[in-house]
């Protein structure tokens, strides 16, 4: 123990003597560890954002869009022509066992007015299941019920963005707003959900009972038509089955011949999102690997300087051996020097990495996440670098012949 402490003191003194050299050597490790911390923080930030978006979208979500229309040779996008009906939704719910909830949606843009304020937003007519599917809660008030659907009552739920733009401080519950020209009573406010994957503001929306939307807002040539049917499967494992069963069921219901194209499309959003999550994982790994390379380069810097230091201090090593230093004493003395450089560099690097992460995220608005795991890993690997790259010079020093070392000029 005494010898250990003595070795530590000797190493510290040797580092203090060559302050500039020690600092520059450490810089390699500082940059390496800092890069690891910052890169991993950027990567895991992206990963977390995607995970949050998946959560905000609702789990096990399948979206059925009504078909594309063809007019004079031009084909329009999905959802431009309502080919889906409320009955399609009911059939999906009743005939496919792996489906838990179904919510038909009929929506469109509309101008809304309250007092002297007005705002343009998306109005969706749907059923109460919609909120279940999207894992969406109310921050105040109540949701609409089956009675509201049956009676096509003029009630609505407002997204946070709409509330902010129309009400500014006033409690919206119980107030009357006009959507297009129709007056609606506000019965609830939706909890904020933030941006969607595509960057849309999910809170800029109003929900009304499906029947009300059909009869009062978006009157159709064909009653019962909807643009979208949201479906929630019971578990992630059955998503694929549910997808193909919905496809088969709707082809059958719409009497589509085997060679004809679908007049609807089925999308598995969760799958798309998990692909993005995997991409983020790969990116994190990639950034981490690149940063690790700079850590290794820092380690080589330590080895280089330690080799120089051993050569410079050959005579000192000879003196120490002559007065009774064992191989282990010399080995440990130099190993500890390398270790101090790398550990101290690691600690400073963690600090630099955190500052760097902060700067990156404040300039680019990227989400970043510094996990304690990443810090521990960076610290640990700087220690490993110190030992592995410091070992060779230390080992070389310990093998010196004392007579030759004493004679060294």
């Amino acid at each position: 123990m005494t010898r250990l402490l003595a070795s530590l003191r000797i190493a510290l003194r040797a580092l203090m003597v060559n302050k500039m050299r020690s600092a520059l050597t450490m810089l390699g490790i500082i940059i390496g560890v800092g890069a690891v911390i910052a890169m991993v923080a950027v990567g895991s930030g992206a990963k977390r954002r995607i995970a949050e978006q998946i959560a905000s979208m609702g789990s096990n979500l399948i979206i059925v869009l009504s078909g594309s229309s063809t007019s004079g040779g031009l084909r329009f996008g999905s959802g431009t022509v309502p080919t889906l009906t409320v009955d399609d939704g009911k059939a999906i719910l009743n005939e496919i066992p792996s489906v838990r909830y179904v919510a038909p949606v009929l929506g469109g843009g509309a101008q809304v007015v309250f007092g002297n304020q007005n705002w343009s937003t998306i109005v969706n007519g749907t059923t109460p299941e919609f909120l279940e599917i999207r894992d969406w809660f109310l921050s105040s008030g109540r949701s609409f019920t089956q009675q509201d659907i049956d009676g096509a009552t003029k009630v609505c739920l407002l997204g946070k963005t709409v509330v902010d733009n129309l009400f500014g401080g006033i409690d919206p519950i119980g107030q009357i707003i006009r959507i297009k020209v129709v007056p609606f009573t506000v019965i609830g406010v939706l909890a904020p959900k933030g941006q969607s994957t595509q960057g849309q503001d999910q809170d800029d929306t109003i929900m009304v009972p499906l029947t009300t939307a059909q009869k009062k807002l978006f009157g159709m040539q064909f009653p019962g038509m909807v643009r979208v049917i949201m479906v929630q499967a019971t578990a992630p494992e059955v998503m694929k089955d549910a997808e193909s069963q919905i496809n088969d069921l709707l082809r059958q219901r719409h009497r589509i011949q085997p060679k004809q194209d679908n007049d609807f499309s089925v999308r598995n959003l969760t799958e798309i999102m998990s692909t993005q999550e995997q991409a983020a994982n790969v990116m994190t790994l990639f950034l981490g690997v690149i940063a690790s390379i700079s850590l290794i380069v820092g380690g080589i810097g330590i080895m280089n300087i330690m080799l120089v230091s051993v050569t410079e201090r050959t005579r000192e090593i000879g003196i120490r051996m002559a007065v009774g230093a064992k191989r282990w004493d010399i080995l440990f003395q130099f190993l500890i020097e390398g270790l101090i450089l790398s550990i101290l560099g690691g600690i400073l690097g963690i600090g630099i990495g955190m500052i760097g992460t902060f700067i990156v995220s404040s300039f680019t608005q990227w989400p970043t996440l510094i996990s304690p795991f990443a810090i521990l890993l960076a610290f640990f690997s700087s220690g490993v670098v110190g030992v592995s790259f410091g070992f060779y010079p230390a080992w070389k020093a310990s093998l010196l012949n004392p007579i030759e070392a004493l004679r060294y000029e």
Partner: protein, 241 residues
């Protein structure tokens, strides 16, 4: 078996590439406790090789060397280091002190490797320094000390572990004659008052005259070994302590 040092038929051969150099050719010698021996010889006579073997820094090619009955043959590097640490004190021509390290810490060095406690180390090092007349200069660094003072720090370092022998390789080689005499006076006093056995290499006959026994090496052999009936008494400052 009573002799402190017993050397029998010691041979050392260096092979420099294809050429073999016989540094020592059958050297036999014994040294008793309390002796003060000067080994003389021209450079290349094998005296430094002999000293390295006596100091367990080197191993003989053949022959036998016993220090207090300990045979260095077949011992590992670490075991030899331990013998050097406990039994031998070295004084070199170039002082060989650690620069940027205070006199006190230089003297503490052998104790550090012996695993002595910090407070005990300081106490013993301070005692050794006052023994060579450097009380009050403990915290000076080698660059702040004169050559004679540096050599005295080296002597203190050699003494601090209470070794069986003190081996000095040209201890006055880098010093002027006045300072050399001071160092010799310290050696004589340590030998006389503390009974420390000293073996010293020198090529200066004036310095050898301070020792009680003179041995002459030539071409790897001892050609002369005689007692010095009336060694010169050195009158250095340390006598006034």
């Amino acid at each position: 078996m009573d002799s402190l040092i017993q050397v029998r038929d010691l041979v050392k051969v260096y092979s420099l590439g294809e050429v073999e150099v016989q540094a020592l050719r059958s050297v036999s010698l014994s040294v008793e406790r309390g002796e003060f021996v000067a080994i003389m010889g021209a450079s290349g006579s094998g005296k430094s090789t002999f000293m390295n073997i006596l100091g367990f820094l080197d191993q003989p090619t053949s022959g036998r060397y016993l220090l207090e009955g300990i045979n260095g043959e077949n011992l590992s590097r670490d075991e030899l280091a331990e013998i050097r640490n406990r039994k031998i004190g070295f004084v070199f021509q170039g002082f060989n002190l650690l620069s940027r390290t205070s006199a006190l810490e230089n003297v503490e060095l052998p104790l550090t490797y012996a695993g002595t406690q910090s407070s005990k180390r300081k106490e013993m090092a301070q005692k050794a320094l006052s023994e060579v007349g450097l009380k009050g200069r403990e915290h000076h660094h080698p660059s702040q000390l004169s050559g004679g003072e540096q050599q005295r720090v080296a002597i203190a370092r050699a003494l601090v572990n209470q070794p069986s022998i003190l081996l000095a390789d040209e201890p006055t080689g880098n010093l002027d004659s006045k300072t050399s005499e001071e160092i010799m006076s310290i050696f004589q006093r340590l030998n006389r008052e503390l009974g420390i056995t000293i073996i010293m290499i020198t090529h200066e006959p004036d310095i050898a005259r301070f020792a009680k026994r003179n041995i002459l090496f030539r071409d790897g052999k001892i050609v002369d070994d005689h007692k010095n009936s009336a060694p010169t008494i050195a009158g250095g400052r340390s006598e006034l302590k």
